[in-house]
């Protein structure tokens, strides 16, 4: 991706416009692709869509089935169904859930808050843990480092659903420190957020430390030290800023891990949210909802990756020259 800002005054406005336009095209093309992929998925789904829609628990008569068939336009040519679907998308309509008979966008909007809350708390928690762990150990050889390194390895290698089960067993069932379920209050958020955060923190800490160690060896650190700055100040003020850049490159992976992770964490902790909605839809083959979630994930991803590109330029002045 090209970066946007340039000192060349006369050409500035068109260039900015072109850059913005380029980004919009990139976003739109990924979204269109995801929508097409999702639609293809819907059509590839084996079996009669009406049977799938009704599920097995029904006494629906043939007349009712025919009514559903025409209501949903299942008999229209695939291409016109596709165009209709895209048209609806343009108006922000994601279709209607087969099982819940509600607009998919409403369902997603309803569940978004809870998942967002969980993902954000986990993200903050992970960044804090990783930062502390990396700053405390970078460039040092000590027992602490070995211990933290081992911890990170375990965290990275542990399936989050298992971690969640262990935390639930210990802290909710045995010690009863935290309530077992629910979404009310900060207390109910602690264990799910920790579950989601720990494996991510493990990865972040490793990447941060590698970045820090690299930065600490750079000439500017020596210069700064020579100017009389303390070891800790150098670490935090200069090197850390430098080391944060690789973190940015992880943003795509982070988004995916947080979003994917909520599916399992919400299952283990019986929390409502996008993940729980996805799982329910996968189980009942409620394809419109699955498609909606796929589109949402793609949207979040492209927005964040565009944002990351911009942030690069902000954090590292050298990159601005493009």
């Amino acid at each position: 991706m090209s970066s946007a800002v340039t000192p060349a005054e006369p050409a500035r406005l068109p260039r900015v416009l072109r850059a913005v336009g380029g980004r919009l095209v990139a976003i739109a093309s990924v979204l269109l692709g995801a929508a097409t992929l999702a639609f293809a998925g819907l059509k590839l789904l084996p079996g009669d869509p009406v049977a799938t829609l009704l599920g097995p628990q029904t006494t629906a008569s043939p007349a009712v089935r025919a009514q559903i068939r025409s209501d949903y336009g299942f008999d229209d040519p695939v291409i016109s169904q596709y165009l209709h679907y895209l048209g609806e998308l343009l108006h922000g309509r994601l279709g209607e859930s087969y099982q819940l008979q509600q607009p998919v966008s409403a369902l997603i909007a309803e569940q978004f808050g809870s998942t967002f809350e969980l993902a954000m708390s986990a993200l903050v928690l992970a960044v804090v843990i990783a930062t502390v762990s990396a700053l405390a150990t970078a460039g040092r050889r000590s027992a602490l480092r070995s211990a933290l390194g081992a911890w990170e390895l375990v965290a990275v290698s542990t399936p989050s659903f298992w971690l969640g089960i262990v935390l639930l067993t210990v802290f909710s069932f045995r010690l009863q420190w935290f309530p077992v379920a629910g979404t009310e209050g900060v207390q109910t958020l602690v264990l799910p957020a920790v579950t989601l955060a720990l494996p991510i923190a493990g990865v972040l800490a490793q990447v941060l430390r590698e970045g820090l160690e690299k930065a600490l060896a750079e000439p500017f650190v020596v210069t700064a030290r020579a100017r009389g700055l303390g070891r800790g100040a150098v670490r935090v003020r200069h090197a850390f800023r430098h080391a944060a850049i690789p973190l940015l490159t992880l943003s795509g992976w982070l988004t995916g891990t947080l979003l994917g992770g909520t599916v399992l964490v919400e299952k283990v902790f019986a929390r409502p949210g996008i993940g729980a909605l996805t799982l329910q839809s996968v189980n009942t083959k409620d394809m419109p909802v699955v498609m909606g979630v796929v589109l949402l994930a793609a949207l979040v991803f492209v927005l964040i990756s565009q944002l990351t590109d911009v942030l690069y330029a902000v954090i590292d002045p050298r990159l601005r020259k493009g």
């Binding site: 084996p46 079996g47 009669d48 049977a51 799938t52 009704l54 599920g55 097995p56 628990q57 029904t58 006494t59 629906a60 008569s61 007349a63 009712v64 009514q67 559903i68 099982q99 819940l100 008979q101 509600q102 369902l107 309803e110 569940q111 809870s114 639930l168 909710s172 069932f173 009863q176 309530p179 077992v180 379920a181 629910g182 979404t183 299952k267 283990v268 902790f269 019986a270 929390r271 409502p272 949210g273 729980a276 909605l277 189980n283 009942t284 083959k285």
Partner: protein, 552 residues
Amino acid sequence: MRAIRPPGIVGAALAAALVLSACTSTTKSGNVAAQADAGPPVRGGSVTVAINTEPTCFDIHVSPQDITASIQRNVFDSLVAEDDQGNFRPWLATSWEVAPDLTSYTFKLRTDVKFTDGTAFDANAVKVNFDRIAAKSTKSQYAASLLGPYTGTEVLDPATVRIRFAKPFAPFLQAASTAYLGFYSPQALAAAGDKLCAGGAQSVGTGPFKFAAHTKGQSLTLENNPAYNWAPTGAGHQGAAYLDKLTFRFLPEDSVRVGAFAGGQVDIAGSIPPVNVKGLEGRADVRILRHDFAGAVYSLFLNTTRAPFDDERVRKAVQRGINIGPNVQSIYFDQYRRAWGPLGSATPSYDKTLENSWPYDPALAGRLLDEAGWTGRDGDGYRTRDGKRLSVQWPSAPAAVREQRDILAQAVQADLKKIGVEVQRPALDLGAFTTNAYAGKYDVLDMSWARFEPDVLRLYFNSSNLPSAGGQNAAWLSNPQIDGWTDSAAATLDRPTRDRLYAQTQAWVIEHAAVVPLYSATTLFATGKQINGLRLDPNAWPLFHDVWSARR
């Protein structure tokens, strides 16, 4: 699998027995929470109930789900109520008359009933609702079948309606007592008739509670309807419900639901896993409510039309080769009972003589298989005949598994392996599973069917209900004797005759090993000691009109 509902008329048809005969009900132990020293009922307060399923559609006229009816029962009233004995009692109808040929029912309605939006409940409301259920555009997945051969509702005067049917329709009163045939405010139907699946404030009924709030995936809150003064005859009290607020929390994970109850986050929890019962029962502040299972117990149906189960000896071998008792005991911690016949012990006409009549006997099973020619053994220890392994297909739909049935199935697999029978369990998603089931592409199918009525035997074994016709006869029986017994039993209201015919049916299907009954489930609710007045209706659904909490 209880997933497939009884096809309307077929399924309901001879629930007819219920209509006139007061089917004796087996007395169920502990279906009313003990009220020792509770003192007089306290008004006000709120109660939270943890349940394991969230309705996907809240529209009682559309949804086929038990849970929808169970929750909405608190919001919607019916024409009549059915009590534990199977008697019908006045509710929104004060009296009724059934035409001798059973093609029409005339109801006298109460005149003091109002919907929570202020609209009066009258004959027109009945007509609008029933017409809506029957309309094709409603896309009813269950209620329409309860109305059977409905042809229309006649408004004789504002307080009198006549419901007409194209042919004699005996089960109508029973159907009319369910929440599926409850009444929406005609005004709400006109305003939002096509959006009622979503539930919410447009679900306006006449019940003791009305909608307050719903967060999908989390909870549904109902609030008191202060005007309520038309509880069915026989209710614990008249007038408004005691509780100000009633909240249902959706907690599908067993351990989480139990944990939430044990930690005091909810007052009542449903579907308590048997493993947790003992621990909860040991606590002084907890009561366990039990309700014996009525209907067709959880059983394996052996496909009698397909090899190897077209050979009765092989079926019998499987029946005697599963060590059912100890497995049920250990998996369900003595809470569910091992079943000896196709009916649950609380069902009318249950045949007690079958108990202990076919104990575990692997040696006999082995001899039967030898006789049937399955004498060879292959490398994995399975029996063979003419070089072919004795292997049976038992499809599973993981999405629909409950009550640890997947674990029980593994025990069955292990036991049958010992007598040399391989059981394969392909995991299918619901669509493929249903398709296979109706096409008979299986050797074993597992099902249970909760219903307070032995007519389920007709649903299960009568040849008019073959899966190919959309029915539940999963053993694919076409036996004139069975057809005769179940049809005649369904056409009479004479109790001894019914008992005899149904006993013959039960004995036959066990004798010929069309079915291997496994366990009879127990409905298990846990309530805090502060909760009083909780009752389970004949369907084992909780009723909250009389519930009050000692803790404010």
